[in-house]
Amino acid sequence: MLASQEKNTEYEDNTTIETKKTGNSVYKVDQLNLWYGEDQALKNIELDIPEQEVTAIIGPSGCGKSTFIKTLNRLTEMIPSVKTSGGIYYRNQDIFDKKYKVELLRTKVGMVFQQPNPFPKSIYENIVYGPKIHGIKDKKVLDEIVENSLKGAALWEEVKDDLKRNAFGLSGGQQQRLCIARCLAIEPDVLLMDEPTSALDPISTLKIEELVQELKKNYSIIIVTHNMQQAGRISDNTAFFLNGEVVEYDQTDKIFSSPDDKRTEDYISGRFG
């Protein structure tokens, strides 16, 4: 059930049969506000995030991009001072509902961080971390997951000879792809990526960008980026954040060619931020 090949086909079936009624969106964000103590970091966010597309989040430093993306899998609630209001619906379910199991949400929504953060364990152990915590013990299944995930993250060829190697011995770009593979191993539905290439060199960046293009066939991807060209290259939709608000949200082509808002235009043309 967890081998990603199978899951893909199953997933494609699902899209054709069932989820139409949600208007094909994975996330529906409704009047979301978030405060760090007294400081409001997100203001009245309204966004519909379509499935199997890449949605880029751009905006100047400190405008709340990371905060927003971490709210989508409720990681922000680990910070004690955080308060939220409004709603986030993942596949039509209110993730702030008291009965909603956050562990299940996070199994469906994988996250890749700005700094590669592999565990100080072997490559193999890094990948099986997720499947193991969800109770998979069968060595054969785990082996298969490792291979599929590493292939999915375009890392298999580089590491297949020595999976017992410590993940810290990998280059930064390889570590980041390992983190992506680690996410794929739990077969998520959505991938959240917070500036996944900002710590990487141009070649590793290119590899990850290609990977994102590849992954969007099977996953819905939300990616934060500082890099305007990157957003233009890889995303289908773009949301421009400023001071905790969504200034403009539209198809990437539209945002980059003829934005409605003057501030979006200024930002994209590099006049501020």
Partner: protein
Amino acid sequence: MKEVSQENTSGTPTEYLSAPSNLPKREWKNRLFRTIFATAVIFSLLMLLILIIRIITQGIGSIDWQLFTNFASRHPDEAGLKAPLIGTIWMMALTGPISFVLGVGTAIYLEEYAKPNRFTTLIQTNISNLAGVPSVVFGLLGLTLFVRELSMGRSLIAGALTMSLLILPIIVVSSQEALRAVPAELKQASYAMGATTWQTIFKVVLPASVPGILTGTILALSRAIGETAPLIMIGALTYIAFLPESIMSQFTVMPIQIFNWTNRPQEEFHMVAAAGIIVLLVMLLVMNSIAVWIRNKFQRRF
């Protein structure tokens, strides 16, 4: 001062820097303070050295096999450490696990589970303050609580529980530091994959912090090994000629025996006491070396 401000108003940085330098004065001050600090170091090292030399010259002659196989005796040349040595080992074997479980458990709860609110702040402040409470007070607590209220008598377990309370704050605080040193990114990676708090603690946080936790625990235990006051309070014996048989047995420990010997008028007993001190120092040295070894071997790799 005056000159500097003149230079400043008149203009360029070069002039400012070429003003009469105060460097000689600063250098002189630097030398002065270096001398003061170095003297402090030399003074304390010297005192320590004198102490150690004195103890070794006094006690080395009494170190022989008998010292370890004989019980205490009225005759200095027959007096041995058997009872207190075994007593101390018992004490450590009991205090170690008790204080480890309680201390690390508290630290994990405070760091990983508890929400910061007034209650946890209160607990936190109290723990930090407890570390500074004189050990006699813990002895008094042990006497009333364990020896009398819980009728454990003057037993090993009463002593071990008292000792555990005494070093608990140290273990809690050092474990908390070790837990806090685990990078938040690693924890987030685990949570972001749907792990529960316990899974994250067990699979990510503990493996990364166990060396620090163990080091702290061993150092705390090596403090307990030398503590005398609380055990005197709860009534550890000073003269016994039998070995503890269970955790309910009466007992004595090394520092108490040493204290007892140094209080005797006969010079020979002072020599046996010095021998006891050497043995105690060696035990401490071994424990601290283990702590350092653990710390170096598992030097943080993230």
